[in-house]
């Protein structure tokens, strides 16, 4: 499987994300934000955490209008897979690939710790290594992770089983404690927690590894 990890000025989880993909068996290419095309044959695009463009204007706003991001939007429109972690989730909402928005944490504090999550659906390439209702622990590190969605959107996400993860306890004021959501075709996942920071024994927690393993499993040609 071929993965591309985007690098924006201010990305700081790009190498961690690349490592998690590699450890799961992917061939990874790093792609600079000024490139206008993804490498040939890319199956999944990773949009990493960090503070792209210094969070200027709004978190992820400038990155969402970068040349490479246009290619990612086309990739997802063709049915390609994408994983946006933290700032990557913010970029995906800013592009409109995923609905809703992420704003300042309700408590105004930067939250940086491991948090308990509930896996809300196992029905996606990202989550079928978990079971529905499973409790896992994944680190978060964000100031703007407060997911905002109106009642209609939450209703739709629930009805379509597109809420991938919720916080098992409120940490940032997110609507319905939503930590991560899937696109309509279930091939794009955006989440605030960092599975790549809990993906190998040296991290002290491997709860995030199943996400990369199951994604790789789904994408390896049978």
């Amino acid at each position: 499987m071929k993965a591309a990890v985007l690098v924006f000025p201010g990305s700081n989880c790009d190498r961690d994300l690349a490592m998690a993909f590699r450890n799961a068996g992917a061939e990874v290419t790093m792609v600079w934000h000024k490139d206008s095309a993804l490498p040939e044959g890319v199956d999944v695009v990773g949009i990493p955490g960090g503070f792209s463009f210094g969070d200027y204007l709004r978190c992820g706003a400038i990155a969402a209008r970068s040349p490479i991001t246009r290619a990612v939007i086309e990739h997802t429109a063709r049915g390609g897979y994408a994983l946006g972690v933290c700032n990557g989730f913010q970029v995906l909402t800013e592009t409109g690939v995923l609905p809703g928005a992420l704003m300042r944490n309700a408590g105004l504090k930067f939250v940086c710790r491991s948090v308990p999550l509930t896996v809300e659906t196992a029905d996606s390439a990202f989550t079928d290594g978990y079971s529905k209702g499973q409790r896992i622990a994944i680190p978060v590190a964000h100031h703007d992770g407060n997911y905002v969605a109106d009642a209609d959107l939450v209703e739709r996400l629930r009805a379509e089983d597109r809420i991938a993860f919720t916080y098992a306890e409120p940490i940032n004021g997110a609507t319905a404690d939503i930590a991560g959501i899937l696109s309509e075709n279930r091939r794009v996942l955006g989440l605030m927690p960092h599975p790549e920071r809990a993906a190998e024994p040296a991290h002290g927690n491997t709860d995030g590894a199943a996400l990369f393993r199951s994604l790789l499993g789904a994408l390896v040609p049978a």
Binding site: L57, R58, A61, R65, G100, A101, G107, L108, V148
Partner: protein, 79 residues
């Protein structure tokens, strides 16, 4: 021609920063502040000379970048 764009969170979207400012005002003894909403002001220097055309252009900028219309609304002033 200059344009000034005001970007504010939509009504009904909780503004945690505005709330923090409201609390701080209370701490300083400013009573009677029922609510605080914090937004952004963006000033643009434009080449345009036609006011209507400039406004249409700035509106497009707002829709495409300056505001996130999922949570924000904007007002344009051409000055």
């Amino acid at each position: 021609m200059k344009a000034r764009v005001h970007v504010m969170l939509k009504d009904g979207v909780l503004d945690p920063q505005g709330e923090a400012v409201r609390h701080a005002l209370g701490t300083l003894g400013f009573e009677g502040v029922g609510g605080v909403r914090q937004g952004k002001v963006i000033d643009l220097d434009l080449d345009a000379t036609d006011k209507a055309a400039a406004e249409a252009r700035v509106r497009e900028m707002c829709e495409k970048l300056l505001a996130n219309t999922v949570i924000e609304r904007y007002d344009i002033e051409i000055v």
